[in-house]
Amino acid sequence: MTRYILRRLLQVIPVFLGTTLLVYYMVFALPGDPIAALFGDKQPPQSVIDALRAQYHLDQPFLVQYGIFLKNLFTFDLGVDYTQQPIAATLARIFPVTAMLAIEALIIQAVFGVAFGLFAGLRRGKLFDSTVLVASLVVIAVPTFVLGFVFQLIFGVQLGWAKPTVGANANWETLILPAVVLGLVSFAYVLRLTRTSVIENMNADYVRTATAKGLSRPRVVMTHILRNSMIPVVTYLGANLGSLMGGAIVTEGIFNVPGVGNKLYQAVLRGEGPTVVIIVSVLVLVFVVANLLVDLLYAWLDPRIRYEK
């Protein structure tokens, strides 16, 4: 098991380096001169430009720039953005908000998705199953930003159950509506995946053997069907964290949540290179680490994985 963890850790490093290098390259090397782009038509004196270039190490060769960036990232020396605000302080403000949002969304999709999927799978072909199947297709088809507006309109404006926008006071309660919007599409995927997986496992030989041993139906379902069905679902949840982050950009925009997605979107549009690169790098780091955790969970769920070469 230890060897498995070590091996996975070693695999994470090139992925992290590759992805951040790619993003860094796209933000700093491809657009020509980011400083010139920053000022648009009104070019400041050359001395100001040179000072800024030196501050962001743009006068260095590309790989050196990237190396400095990595060093700073891991020493939490994140520097300032183009408006001279410390980036670290911004991150400390916005990350907890998005973390709350993501955790709520994750709980919604995992808990409800698995429960509905299990139920539908066990009652395959019955009314509940077919209703849920069609409904999940509809949920998958409606884009997140459409869903956001519709929910905002219905639950926020018309019914008044929740605040239509979150604004400055982001907490577990105010974030529920955006979290539902964010988690709903994946909820439908988790539901369908669980259902398929449950149906497959119900017909497995070992389930029949478990019944032949004299186990009661609930025990067979919990220990033999559900546990085995979790394996693909967990894999999906890990891989899906990325789309959760992407969805956060849209959802936070609609509900005016002061989170990472919102900040990133604005930074991208304003061409704030350092902020974009740092946020994306942190997100990638979160993503690969979360996937590492998912892999460990996966190895715990499926003992066969641990011993593979």
């Binding site: 030989d205 070992y206 029949r208 053997t209 041993k213 009661s216 139906r217 546990r227 003992p303």
Partner: protein, 571 residues
């Protein structure tokens, strides 16, 4: 004869009530195209402590009957008529709650496939423990270890902490037997309990199962496709055919004096009971010595008698383990043998013996690590790509799995035509004529051409594979477990076809198999392999009558029913 025995039966049933009695059982399945009966009017009786075997081919309804008795029919199946009396109680339609009470401690089950019947995510010990707990038995670690130890699993306390994938097939089957018998059921349903295992392991496990059940006084309902195995292990044999019980009675009597035509045919074609080679040539008046000698045509052309020589063949696989480091695994270790033109040489061995690796190398699909394969005087490793292409015309394979060896996207015509087209033989018209001829040769109707593999049975697919192999008029055919996946009667049919083709076309076969009984029927020479090494080689008669090595003896002993004496007119 019949009426007197019924009265005896009735008299004895007064004294002793059967443990399980199945009367007039119909089991029907709902499918997309309506409801059909998988079992109709089945009946059987099992007394306390008795072992009864149901014998039949796949689709005969033998497993369905057994599953009905433990209430485990698939969701689309139901008992539509008849009774299943367990100690006098009709359990055909009882509430599921009652069935849960009965399962485990009154009726136990040992399923067929040890690979898929243990849940891969739970430790073996847990899977035994939950059985004990569900049936209200003590379920401490010691009890679990005891149950496993009784099933013949050494070092059982440590083994209980392992997962199924750390077990070999035989060990898994022992674990399943431990689970099936852990609550001392009165009836054990054993559904092909060993058919997925190597013969020597099979024998050990069946012996152990027999000892355990007789000690506990457990009745056993044994489901098997192997008449020899059934006769050897059971007091009474029930033969099922297409959902009906066609014959039942004391096992030896059934074997010696089969009455129903199906049973007769089954007894005649059971490989484990047959004692001699299929002799097509003999019927045509040619003496067997001539068959063993190179045929006239061959002598005229002064071709070497040995069409294939394998010299010091070795194959080492690099196994990766951990980070970068690798260990060597010698799959084939210094194997030498030769194959005479027009004869059949069988390579026999259990799984992991390296026999299939030899086949791959002879086919030039895998390069040997060292050693030579000389085909018709030429070392096959020295062939240029062009010569290799020509070599492929002369040596063709037939594989084991009739489901995997035909491309499901190709219809039968395209499948058989592919070799002709690849080697640019003939034009469209002549190729079609050739395909029709080939279908005739393997006794399939020409209308098969338009069909797809999934529409054919296993035996039919295997005949298509034979036709494809014959398309290029090869000299040598490598049969890798070519009949292992087939039902007994179908297997006999394909073996006869192969024997007939050999005598008509002068083919040479290299026959790879795990089944010594089949070897007896088809081979002239035998090579026995164990763990990559060739342990014994000789003519089939010599090896069967006076085996020299212990391993060969063990293999021969393991043939189920091999020692049952049959009157010559049946065999």
């Amino acid at each position: 004869m019949k009426s007197t025995q019924i009265t005896i039966e009735e008299a004895s049933s007064l004294a002793e009530r059967p443990l399980l009695e199945i009367r007039d059982l119909d089991v029907s399945f709902k499918t997309g195209s309506g409801e059909f009966n998988a079992v109709s009017g089945a009946h059987l009786t099992i007394m306390q402590g008795e072992t009864v075997a149901i014998v039949g081919e796949s689709g005969s309804g033998k497993s369905t009957t057994a599953l009905a008795a433990i209430g485990l029919l698939p969701p689309n199946g139901r008992v539509s008529r008849g009774q299943i009396l367990l100690d006098g109680e009709d359990i055909a339609h009882v509430h599921e709650r009652r069935m849960i009470e009965l399962r485990g401690n009154t009726i136990g089950m040992v399923p067929q496939d040890p690979m898929s019947n243990l849940n891969p995510v739970w430790k073996i010990g847990y899977q035994v423990k939950e059985t004990l707990r569900a049936n209200g038995k003590p379920d401490g670690p010691a009890d679990v270890a005891k149950a496993l130890a009784e099933a013949g699993l050494p070092d059982s306390a440590r083994r209980a902490k392992q997962y199924p994938h750390e077990f070999s097939g035989g060990m898994r089957q022992r674990a399943l037997i431990a689970i099936g018998l852990s609550c001392q059921p009165r009836l054990l349903i054993a559904d092909e309990p060993t058919s997925a295992l190597d013969v020597t392991v099979q024998r050990q496990i069946l012996d152990h199962l027999e000892t355990m059940t007789s000690e506990l006084g457990t009745s056993v309902l044994l489901i098997t496709h192997d008449l020899g195995l059934a006769a050897e292990r059971a007091d009474r044999v029930v033969v099922m055919y297409r959902g009906n019980v066609v014959e039942s009675g004391p096992s030896l009597e059934l074997l010696r004096n089969p009455q129903h035509p199906y049973t007769k045919r089954l007894v005649a074609s059971a490989p484990s009971l047959a004692s001699r080679r299929i002799q097509v040539a003999k019927e045509r008046g040619i003496e067997s010595e001539e068959l063993l000698a190179p045929s006239e045509a061959v002598v005229e052309k002064h071709l070497p008698a040995d069409v294939l020589q394998v010299e010091n063949l070795t194959k080492v696989f690099k196994l990766r383990s951990g980070l970068g480091r690798g260990t060597d695994f010698t799959a084939v270790d210094d194997v030498s043998f030769s194959v005479q033109r027009g004869t059949t040489t069988a390579i026999v061995g259990e799984s992991g013996s390296g026999k299939s690796t030899v086949a791959q190398m002879v086919l030039s699909l895998l390069a040997p690590t060292s050693g030579r394969i000389v085909f018709d005087g030429v070392d096959t490793s020295t062939l240029t790509p062009k010569q290799l292409f020509a070599f492929r015309r002369r040596v063709q394979p037939i594989f084991q799995d009739p489901y995997g060896s035909l491309d499901p996207m190709y219809n039968i015509y395209r499948t058989i035509e592919e070799p002709l087209r690849t080697h640019k033989i003939g034009d469209r018209t002549t190729r079609e004529i050739k395909v029709r001829e080939l279908l005739d040769q393997v006794a399939l109707p020409q209308s098969t051409m338009q069909r797809y593999p999934n529409e054919l049975s296993g035996g039919q697919r295997q005949r298509v594979a034979v036709a494809r192999a014959l398309a290029l008029d090869p000299e040598v055919i490598i049969c890798d477990e070519a009949v292992s996946a087939l039902d007994v009667l179908v297997q006999a049919q394909v073996l006869n076809l192969l024997a007939e083709l050999q005598s008509n076309l002068g083919l040479t076969y290299l026959f790879i198999t795990h089944d010594l009984a089949v070897v007896r029927q088809i081979a002239d020479h035998v090579c026995v392999m164990e763990k990559g090494k060739l342990v014994e080689t000789g003519t089939t008669d010599d090896v069967f009558e006076s085996p020299e090595m212990d391993y060969t003896k063990a293999l021969l002993n393991a043939i189920p029913g091999g020692k049952l004496m049959l009157p010559p007119e049946v065999a």
